[in-house]
Every structure is written in C-alpha cells, then in structure tokens.
C-alpha cells in the first residue's frame, strides 16, 4: 500500500486534468477519477510489478472516460461546443498572457476524440509516445500520425481566430 501512495498519489492532479479536458464537466470528471482510483486500489495487487504505474493509471482512466462518453452519446446528452459550460474548463484568462487560452482550449475541444486524447496525453500530461501508445492500445505509428493531424488541425482552427495575429508575431 505504501508504494501505491508513493506512485499514484502524485498522479491525481494530472488525472483530474485529463478527465476534465475530455469530459469538460468538472463534477463528472471527478466522478471518473474517483472510479479510476477505486480500481487502482482494488487492482493494485494485480498490476504487473514491473509495469509503469503512470501509464497503467491513465489507461484505466482513459477507458472509463471512453465508456462514459459513449454512454452520454447514447443518451443524447452529449455536450456540444455551443452549450459546453466554459467555466468547466477554462479559468479566466491570465491578464498578462499574450495567448488566448480560451481559444486554444476551444480549438482542442473541437478535435476528434482520438486526436484529442493523443494531444492531451503527450502535450499536457507529458506521457512519452510509447506510454501513450500503451494507454490507447494503438501502435506508436498511429500515435504519431494522430499527433501530427491534431496539430495540423489546431493550426487551422487557430488561424480562424483573431489570436493568430499574436501567434504569428511571437518568437
């Protein structure tokens, strides 16, 4: 149990962030993280001792999120971009930030789910390409092509927003 606390507890903030980025609803996301942690607790002894606790925890969370999103889609209560509560994700943009955080979050949300997962796991959660492949149960080549497509699409999306002016200028 002690190694579980050491290995898993520091991951919880990131797991929350990933869940909330996917589900956009803070309460639903925390429900999911709670489910995930209960499974982690319950299956800790079944985990391969040489396994990677981080990719294992993200795998459990990701699969729960996929199930939840499928349930939502079946029930027809899926949030659309138009009525997604902004507050669920984006805090008020920091005044000094030259980058339009809301825009980038909104553009990320418009990505197809499979591209979104890859982008978030790699760019935000700092998983390696190999870890991401394991979490999503796809070949690493697929990870790379989804990542490339996600970034390409973000560029297109952001090109349609006024923030582009800033982005082009910086650097």
């Amino acid at each position: 149990m002690r190694d579980m606390m050491v290995l898993i507890e520091p991951l919880i903030p990131g797991l929350r962030r990933y869940a909330r980025s996917l589900l956009r609803d803070a309460d639903a996301a925390d429900d999911l993280v709670q489910d995930c942690l209960e499974r982690v607790v319950g299956r800790w002894h079944q985990r391969r001792a040489d396994g990677n606790a981080r990719s294992w925890a993200y795998t459990i969370l990701h699969n729960l999120a996929v199930n939840r999103m499928q349930q939502r889609a079946r029930r027809g209560t899926h949030l659309t971009m138009e009525n997604a509560p902004e507050a669920a994700l984006a805090e008020p943009p920091a005044q000094e930030s030259p980058l339009h955080n809301r825009d980038i979050v909104a553009a990320m949300q418009r990505l197809p789910d499979d591209q979104k997962a890859v982008l978030l796991l790699i760019s935000v959660e700092d998983l390696s390409y190999a870890e991401t492949a394991r979490v999503l149960d796809i070949p690493i080549g697929t990870v790379m092509s989804r990542l490339s497509r996600a970034r390409e699409r973000l560029r297109r999306e952001m090109a349609d927003t006024p923030a582009t002016l800033h982005l082009r200028r910086v650097k």
Binding site: M5, E38, N101, S148, L154
Partner: protein
C-alpha cells in the same frame, strides 16, 4: 556528409522536446533553411505552451475529499465483506423491474430450461454486472478461495474458477447470483483495456451433459455447455468464434473437476 532525412515524426518530437541533442540540432538546422516549416513548428510550439498554460490550473486545485487515495484504500478494506445487502438489492431490482417482461418473454422466446436458459441467464448477468463501475464483483480475485467456498456451498458441489489468463483475461472476482434454476456462480474477467467477460456456472436439472452451443446475441455472444450436471456459459462482447476459443480453454480446465 550524409544525414538521415528529417521526418514528420522528428518535427513532432522537436515540438515535444523528445529528441536527443544531436537529432535536435539536425532538426534545428533543417528548420533554419526551411522558413515555412519553421513557422509551422513555431505555431505548434506556441499552441503546446498555450494549452499547457490553460489547463495547468486544473492540476493546481486542491483535491476534493473524495479523491483522497488513503481514504479510498481504507474504505475499500472496510466494505469488502459487507456487500450482502447489495445482492439482495440487485435481486429485488431485477424482480421488480423485470417481472412483467420476464414472464411474457418466458412464454414466447425464452428457453425455459437447459443450456439455452443458462445462456440467457449468463447474458442477463453480464448486462447487469459487467458495466458496473463501482462494484462489478462481490469478492475480488485476491479472495478467490473465499469466493470458491461460498459458491461451492451454495451450489452444493466443488467449483473452481477457470483461468483465462492465456487468452489475456485476468480474473477480477465474482459473486453468487440468483437464476430461476437456483444459485449460480458468476466469475468476471477483464483484459486490462475495458473488455470484460462473464462466466456463469450452475447445476443443470436437464442437459446435464451438453456440447458447446454458441449464440450470437448482437452486442454479446454466449458459449454454453454442460458436463456432469454442471452448466457453464461464457459471455462477452467478442465474436462468437473468438469467444469459443476462450471457452475451449475454460472447458479443458473444467474436465478435471467432478
């Protein structure tokens, strides 16, 4: 001075700072001489940073009490053996909710007994317990001996949990569930990426020995058989053929039990 050509993967890894120093320098040199691609990569870098900044505050929020890992571990330890009431509740729900449709279907298409009935019971159990996120099983795999004692007592014969790990399915645990033909032992398995299988086993009044019968029910398939008065039905969201190959492994193991 030939050099490995720069690939799209290199450009992505450059953005993620995942290249070794040598390769990173090669990509940087490439970008200097390709301004259009350099601009593209610069945009990607900015988007990456902006997204990280935008989402960072979520990870800095204080954790709510329900995400306290130590407490979750402690609660699990306490609640493990106090779930009898949940079986009763599930039974009541199944009876109350399903009574109308149940008798109607019994009269028409539901096989009333035998292997067909067992397969239906297994599919019903799968539908109730496999999607259960909180408590899919009553007794976890770590207490397999306890589960086996419970099931053997209720079925009034020795039962054993089939091992499906060769097929990639880990035993999660199980419970005793009600069927119209008496108690049945339910075992649940998981392949680690969300696909679950359920094995239901109970005493057979008829079809005491039956060859494997496969049934494609759309979302799930069942493979059922009986040997020496004990019936088995394996359910899962797999193709009938795939499920059949897993059922073969389970049956090979069951041959040793009287």
């Amino acid at each position: 001075m030939t050099q490995r050509p720069i690939t799209e993967d290199d450009l992505q890894a450059y953005v993620d700072e995942a290249l070794d120093p040598e390769r990173r320098a090669a990509v940087a040199a490439f970008l200097t001489s390709n301004p259009e691609i350099e601009e593209r990569v610069a945009m990607d870098l900015h988007h990456r940073r902006a997204l990280r900044e935008a989402l960072a505050p979520v990870a800095k929020e204080p954790l709510p009490a329900r995400l306290n890992l130590a407490r979750l571990a402690e609660e699990r330890g306490k609640s493990r053996f106090t779930g009898w009431t949940s079986v009763a509740a599930a039974l009541a729900l199944m009876l109350a909710g399903g009574a109308g449709g149940w008798s109607l279907r019994l009269a028409s298409e539901r096989p009333a007994a035998g292997i067909g009935s067992l397969a239906q019971e297994a599919a019903d159990s799968y539908a109730v317990f496999a999607p259960d996120l909180g408590r899919p099983v009553e007794i976890g795999a770590s207490d397999e001996a306890q589960l086996v004692r419970w099931a053997s007592r209720r079925l009034d014969r020795a039962v054993k949990v089939p091992n499906l790990s060769a097929a990639g399915y880990t035993f999660l645990g199980g419970r005793v569930v009600p069927t119209p033909h008496g108690p049945a032992a339910l075992y649940m398995y998981d392949n680690g990426s969300g696909t679950r299988l359920v094995m239901l086993t109970r005493n057979m009044a008829i079809d005491k020995n039956a060859p494997m019968a496969t049934d494609d029910r759309g979302a799930v398939a069942t493979v059922s058989w009986a040997r020496d008065g004990l019936g088995y039905s394996l359910v899962g969201p797999l193709s009938p053929r795939h499920l059949h190959s897993i059922a073969d492994q389970a049956r090979a193991q069951s041959s040793g039990i009287s």
